[in-house]
């Protein structure tokens, strides 16, 4: 309770219950003004969210249907041609799988016998075999086929199933060329260079009812911001399309406010900027559809907001500067750490040797507010945008230790 002077008490007591009747036409004017107000707008990020969800759903449910059955069975039959190892001597060579038979069924027919074949039974692959593996335009697709083929080979040639443990020295130099199931998981290292144009939706809420109207006013004035980002991501991914990416991203959010004061001869504008540095940590899953690779990305961004410049409007309509680096500015924003949730749809097309063009529409929401903790309003932001850039594969794959 504020300490009151007798003068304050006098005015408060006498005016608290005092009433003055407004003019008769005020109610009519209110109704007229309300009838002219436009309908509320749909938040700009809603279409992004809707599109992302639709694409994610489509990719998830279409996975099995987009690969024709004929292609599956054909690939299974043709795979033994890519086998690099054949029994040198003896042993009964099982016949290839009849088409239409599942792997589970075939395993029952030809069970695996571990370590039943001596290392000498294996032969070194020929140059043709090596070329078949290495001279491919799209190494990722080729290796996927190789992986499936080798699984088939296991069942067709059970005697060589677990050769890896006793691999002789002369073979180890070719170990990178071994079919995947002989080794641990094959990974690919990739680097992304991305630029994005984002739209930022800002939502201001009042921490106390006192500022409800003020927050509504600010929401109306500051609806849309534009952001530009540059990101470099390093990532590793498996043949199955699972991947993990991280790196660094710089974003600069720009905003131009225009306040139109009734009866004023001019408009007042303010240009604001907010800068952030993010460290993304993103899990991805991609799938090939012909040349196109599509998938989803989910993850978090560790975030540091810094260097806020500009002004906003006070409830009184005057400009308040909040530039963080300027002493005496209103401390509505402070440099602070935070995190964001990220989801996107990744699309890529090979355009050269180990090089892909990427497009990634995304939605990102910052979990803590960007406004200072002790500021009367809480300002939260959503990003929606489109990353475009290039992805370069580094080397030809590796095995994690």
């Amino acid at each position: 309770m504020n300490p009151k002077s007798p003068l304050d008490e006098l005015f408060r007591r006498k005016l608290s219950h005092y009433e003055v009747t407004p003019s008769d036409d005020l109610w009519d004017n209110i109704q007229l003004a309300r009838a002219k107000k436009p309908s509320p707008r749909i938040p700009f990020w809603a279409p992004w969210l809707f599109t992302s969800l639709c694409l994610a759903t489509l990719i998830y449910f279409s996975h099995d249907y987009l690969i024709p059955e004929q292609a599956k069975s054909t690939s299974l039959e043709e795979k033994p041609l890519q086998v690099h190892f054949t029994p040198k001597t003896g042993g009964e060579i099982p016949t290839p799988l009849p088409s239409g038979k599942t792997r589970a069924q075939s395993k029952k027919v030809a069970p695996i016998f571990k370590n039943s074949l001596p290392p000498q039974a294996a032969i070194i692959p020929t140059n043709d075999d090596i070329d078949q593996v290495t001279n491919t335009a799209n190494i990722t697709d080729q290796m996927e086929q190789t992986e499936q083929a080798s699984e088939s080979t296991f069942t067709s040639f059970p005697n060589i199933a677990t050769l890896d443990a006793t691999l002789p020295h002369e073979l180890s130099m070719y170990s990178e060329l071994l079919p995947v199931p002989f080794k641990k998981k094959l990974w690919f290292a990739k680097i992304d260079f991305l630029l994005s144009q984002d739209f930022v939706h800002s939502s201001l809420t009042s921490k106390t009812p006192l500022f409800d109207v003020y927050s509504t006013l600010r929401n109306n004035q500051e609806d849309l911001k534009v952001s530009n980002s540059f990101a470099v991501r390093m990532g590793i991914s498996t043949l199955k399309g699972w991947g993990l990416r991280s790196g660094i991203q710089y974003s600069r959010m720009s905003q131009t406010l225009t306040l139109i004061i009734p009866d004023a001869p001019h408009q007042t504008t303010s240009k604001n900027t907010f800068e952030t540095i993010d460290i993304p940590l993103i899990l991805t899953k991609e799938q090939s559809f012909g040349k196109l690779r599509a998938g989803f990305s989910l993850g978090t961004y560790l975030n540091m907001a810094f260097n806020q410049k500009g002004s906003f409007y006070s409830p009184g309509g005057s400009l308040i500067e909040f530039t963080s680096s300027k002493p005496g500015s209103y401390p509505a924003f402070k440099n602070r750490l935070g995190a964001s949730l990220y989801s996107g749809i990744s699309l890529s097309i090979p355009i050269g040797n180990s090089l892909e063009f990427i497009a990634e529409p995304y939605v990102r929401s910052r979990i803590p507010a960007i406004s200072a903790e002790d500021y009367v309003l809480e300002q939260k932001i959503w990003y929606g945008g489109l990353f475009i850039g290039f992805r370069k594969q580094i080397g030809k794959g590796f095995y994690l230790p």
Partner: protein, 189 residues
């Protein structure tokens, strides 16, 4: 509680439900019920009656447009009063708070002294006129602090001014009001 709720909870609840449905009949009932009190709030912040009616009109539009934001934590009247105040503040020029009145710069705050008996004989209409005659900055801070009950920190945040500015404007407003009342009594005598 900062504000007195003159309507019974039952009446308020019925009006609120009607306004949430955007029922024009209930909106008009709310207007008729509270317009007189809110007009006084508006008059205290405005320089004249015409400006006060503009503020009140804008405030009622906001009230009906955002009625769903009323959470029922306080009284309906209190919520509407805050909207009127915020609407009034929207049209205030920040330069108003740098206005200095000659002779009041060195005024010191004194909240303990008793008022002359003549002060309590003033009518509501006279008090309202005295407030309206204050410079913009003085009038706003005096209204917000003395009558609405806002703290200097809240006033600072609402107006985007320093707390020290709010304090000095209040002291000067009180000093000016006292001077005006005493002056008017001398004229009357």
């Amino acid at each position: 509680m900062r504000y007195l709720n003159i309507a019974s909870p039952v009446e308020d609840n019925e009006l609120i439900q009607g306004c949430l449905r955007q029922d024009r009949k209930y909106q008009e009932a709310v207007f008729r019920h509270y317009a007189g009190k809110l007009m006084v709030v508006s008059l205290r912040y405005a320089r004249h009656r015409m400006e006060a009616e503009d503020i009140l009109q804008d405030a009622f539009i906001r009230i009906f447009d955002h009625f769903d934001q009323f959470q029922g934590k306080g009284s309906l009247e209190g919520w509407m009063r805050r909207i009127v105040v915020n609407t009034a503040l929207k049209n205030i020029d920040k330069k108003s708070f740098s206005n200095e009145i000659i002779g009041l710069e060195t005024a010191a705050e004194d909240t303990s002294g008793a008022l002359p008996s003549v002060f309590s004989q003033l009518h509501e209409e006279e008090l309202l006129q005295l407030i309206q005659q204050l410079p913009d900055g003085y009038r706003i801070v005096f209204n917000m602090y003395a009558i609405e009950g806002y703290s200097h920190a809240e006033i600072s945040a609402l107006l985007g001014i320093q707390e020290s500015t709010s304090r000095s404007q209040l002291v000067k407003a009180r000093k000016m009001l006292q001077s005006q009342i005493l002056e008017s009594q001398k004229v009357a005598v």
